[in-house]
Subunit: 554 residues, 2 copies
Amino acid sequence: MTVTHNSKKVGQMNSNDRKNPSLIADWKTLERIFIRPEDEACRKTLVKYMEQILFGLHDFLNSNVGVTQEISLLELTNLYRDTLISPDPEKKLENVISDIIHKIAPRAVNVASPYFVGHMTAAIPFFMVHLKTIVAALNQNVIKLETSKVLSVIEKQVLAKIHRLIYRRDEAFYQTHVQSVDTSLGAFTTGGTTANLMAMWVARNHFLGAGVEQQGMAAAMQAKGVERAVILVSKRGHYSLKKAGGILGLGNSNVLAMDVDQHQRMDMKKLEVTIRNLKKDGKTGIIAVVGIAGATETGTVDPLGEMADLCLGQGIHFHVDAAWGGPVLLSERYAPLLKGIERADSVSMDGHKQFYMPMTSGMVYFRDPGAMDQIAYYSNYVNREGSVDLGIKSLEGSREANALILDSSLKIMGSRGYALMIDHGIETAKAFAAEIEQRVMFEVVTPPELNILTYRMVPPDVCRRLEHADPKGREILNGYLDELNIYIQRTQREAGKSFVSRTRICPVPGSEGGRVVLRSVIMNPMTTNAVLREILDEQERIGQGFCDPIPQIL
Amino acid sequence: MTVTHNSKKVGQMNSNDRKNPSLIADWKTLERIFIRPEDEACRKTLVKYMEQILFGLHDFLNSNVGVTQEISLLELTNLYRDTLISPDPEKKLENVISDIIHKIAPRAVNVASPYFVGHMTAAIPFFMVHLKTIVAALNQNVIKLETSKVLSVIEKQVLAKIHRLIYRRDEAFYQTHVQSVDTSLGAFTTGGTTANLMAMWVARNHFLGAGVEQQGMAAAMQAKGVERAVILVSKRGHYSLKKAGGILGLGNSNVLAMDVDQHQRMDMKKLEVTIRNLKKDGKTGIIAVVGIAGATETGTVDPLGEMADLCLGQGIHFHVDAAWGGPVLLSERYAPLLKGIERADSVSMDGHKQFYMPMTSGMVYFRDPGAMDQIAYYSNYVNREGSVDLGIKSLEGSREANALILDSSLKIMGSRGYALMIDHGIETAKAFAAEIEQRVMFEVVTPPELNILTYRMVPPDVCRRLEHADPKGREILNGYLDELNIYIQRTQREAGKSFVSRTRICPVPGSEGGRVVLRSVIMNPMTTNAVLREILDEQERIGQGFCDPIPQIL
C-alpha cells in the first residue's frame, strides 16, 4: 500500500519546454512548501520575504505619491500576451515577490495615495494587512462548522454587533439570536453587489411565496395573479440593483428608476404616485422599495424615515443600500443622517468601503431573524438541516473568515476610531466644496451630504454665455463643458499624480441628458485640504490648456 | 478651509463605557496606522507581528496534529454573546494577534493537518499566505481599470492560460482574445457557487434571448412559447446548481436530478430519454445539461465526451462543473479522465480547491469569447461602454486581485508541480481504497476515480445477516449501519485528532433512501498511507465500542 514518492519525480521533459532549466518540480521541493518551517534559517527566509512585501511595496508606494506609473494600456497589454502555462517552475517565490514589487506594483494603482480621491477604494489601516494574513494562514471555510468552528461563532457575533448598530433592538433580542441555530441576523457576502442581490432574493421570495424558489418566476407570478414584479429605487441607485433584477428573473427593466429631487434624493411625491398607480391595476407586484444611504455617485442619503413610513403602511419590503454609508452609524455626530434605517427590512453594507477592510467583503442584514429562511439550501455532506452551518442561508458557497477582520478591527479602533475617519471625510468634503465654490473656474454640482461630491469646471466666459443662451445654445455649451471635463479627468489620470473620477449627473430634476461631472470621494484620512487644493490647481492648469482659446462656435 | 484635527479628539466619554481605559481613539493614533512606517523601530514592530502570525500560528498548528481543541459548541457560543461595539479601542494589534494565536486558533479547525481528510479544504503551500498578503497590501479592485490597471491585464492573461488548458484553441485564437477589449474568455468569481450561477445565467439568457434579462422570466418564457425551463444534472450535482435554479427564476424543482449508473456517473440512456421526452411537448426549454468533473461527494467524472456529443447534436448548452476536478488537467497522467471538457460551452473551476489558493476564489470559462455579452452591465462612473473594465461582465462587483495569486503560483510550481499533488491525491486514494477493502470491518461504497472515496463500516456479522435478510430486515440492518457510521464520524470528529466527513449515497442505481457513508478527500500531499491507516484504526476502535454487543433486534 506504499506510494513511492520517487515515481512522482518528473523525468520526461523536453529541453525546449523549460523556461528556467534550473527549476524542477519534484517531490522534495513540494514537501518543503507544505511542511511548516522548522529550522531557524528557513524561518528567517520566510520573514525576509514578508519584510520585502511589507516594506518593499510600501517604500514604492511612498516614493510614488501619484497614482500609477505612466504607461499606455496598449504597451501594458503587450507585456501580458503569453497564454501557455509553463510545465516547469519559472521562478522562485523570492523572484516572484521581487517582480511584483519592481515590475507589477509600479503599474498598479496606488489607491493608498492621499491624491487618489476618485473611487471608493483607498488606503486601509496598516493592521488590515496583518489581519488578512491571519485569515489566509488559518484558511478556514465558514460555509460549515466542520471547517471553521469558532470562526463561524465569531461571524455570528459580529453580525449581531452590526445588526445592533443598525436596528438597536434590546439586549434580550440579541441574547436570543446572537448564537441561535435557527435564526440569522444577516450574512457576510463578498461585496455590496451580492449583498443587494441577497436582499432582493429574500424580498422576491417573501412577496411571491415559497413557490417562486421551487417553481420559478413564471409559475409564481401566475399563482399570485401578477404580470409584472418591480423594484423601485431612485435614479441614483447602484447598478447592482438593476443586475439583481436581471439575475432574479424580474427583468432589469422592472427595476424602475424613480426621479430625484433637487438634492439628488428620492422624490417622495413621485414615489407615492408611482406606487399608487402600480397598485391600481392589481397586475403589478412591488417586490421592494430601495432607499440609498450614500449614493455611489453623489453620496446622498434618501429620506429613509419617510420611505419607511410609506413602505410599512403599504406592506412593501423596504431595503436600504448602505454599502457606502452604513459605517456612518459609528459616528455619534453623523449617525442621525441615516435616521429611518432602523425600520428597514434589510440593509446592505460593504466591509471593504468605510469599514476599511481589504477587498473582498460585504454584508447584508435583516430586521426579521427569520427572513433568510426564504433562501435556505441544504445538502447531505454539508449544511444538513438543523446544523448551524452558515452556508445554509448564503448566496455564496465557500467563504474565507472575513468576520475575524471586522471583529478585530472594531476592537482595535473602537467605534470612536472609525468615527474619526467618518467625521474627517464628511468635514473635509464640506471644506473642499467651499474651496471649489470660491474658485471662479469651478462649480459644485452636488454638494456633499456625506463625503462624496461632484463638481465641474465652467470657465467664467462660458458661464456667462450659458445664462443668456437659448435651449439650443445651452446644449452646445454644455456639450463643450462635457468635453472639457472629460479632458481634465483623463489628462490628470494619465499624468499619474492625482485621480478624481467622472460620471454624468442631471443636476436639475427631470432635465434631459445630464452633465459630465468630476467626482471626489474623501475617505483617506491623509487626504487633507492642502492635497485637494493641489488637485484643483492641476485641474485648472489642464483646463486652461483646453480652453485657450474657447472655440468660435460658442 | 483648514480642518482642525484637534476637534476630532474624543473628549466626551463616560467612565463606564470604556472597556480598556488606557486606550483612546485619537487622531494621532489614527495617523500612525495609515502612514507607512518610516523609522526602524516601527518597522521592527510590524515584522515582529508578522513573525507572530507566521510562526505563532504555525507552531500551534504543528503541535496540534489533530483537527481542533475539544470544546462543545454550547461552551464555545457562550464565549461570544456580547453584541455591543466598544466605543473605545479594546485591544492593541499586538494583543489581538496574540489572542487569535492563543485563544481563537486552538478553537478553529486545523484544516492543514494531514489527518483532516473530510472536506475540500486543506493545507495550502506556504507561499500562498505571502501572495495573499501582497494582494491585501496592494488592495486593488479589479472591477475597473482605474483601480487596478496592470492587475486587470494580468487577470485577462491568467484567464486565457486556464482557458487554453481547457479548450486548447490555437495560438492565433489566444492572441486575438487574451487582451481583447470586446471579448471575454471567462471571469474570476468568489467561488464555484457563483461560477456555476454565472454559467447558468449566461445559458438562461442564451436560450431565452436578451428579453429575459430585460423583461424577466415570465415574459421571456411566454415569448419563447415555453412553460418550463429546466437544467439537467445528475444526482451527484452540487447543490449550488439547485440554488442557481432558484435564484435565476427557473425554480429549483426544474433543476432535474438525473439518475446515475453504478459508477455514480450520469446514466446516458436515461438522459437521452429524458431529453427526448422533454422535447416532445414543445413546452419545456432545456437551458443546460451539466456534466460533473469531480463530484463533491464521490469525486466521479461524468462521461463528458458522450454528453458533449448529445448536447452539440441537440443545440443544448453544455456546462461542466469542474470546481473540484478542473486542475486535474494540469496532470499529464490524469488529464485524459476529463476528456470531452474541451467541448463544453462553459466550465467552472475553484481556485481555493485543487489550485490550492487561499479562500475565496473561483472561475468560470466560456468556449465562445462572446458568450458573456449576455450579462453585460454598464454604469456611468465605472464600467462605461467600450471600456476594458472587468466589472462589466461579472456577477460580483468589487473584487480583490486574486488572479495575481494564481499567476504567481503557476510560475512557482509549473504545471508539473501541480501535477505532483494531483497524482499523489489520486494514487493515495486508490491505495486507501485497497486498504479499506482488506479490512473486514469496512466496505468501499464508491471507489475513487479522482481523489475522493466513500466507504462505511459494516461489521462482518451484520454483513452476513444483510445477505440473507428480507427487504424489511435489510432496512433495519441498514438503519443500524447508518447509526453506526454517524456515530463513528461524530465521535472521531469530537475526539479532534482526525476528521473524515459523512454523506448519504445510493450505491445501487434507483434504490431507495441511501446509506450513510464516510467520505475522504485526499488533497494534502502530507496525507500518507500511514496517516490513513491510523484514521481507519481509530474508526475501528470507535466502531467496536458501538457494536459491542450488536443489539438483539438484528
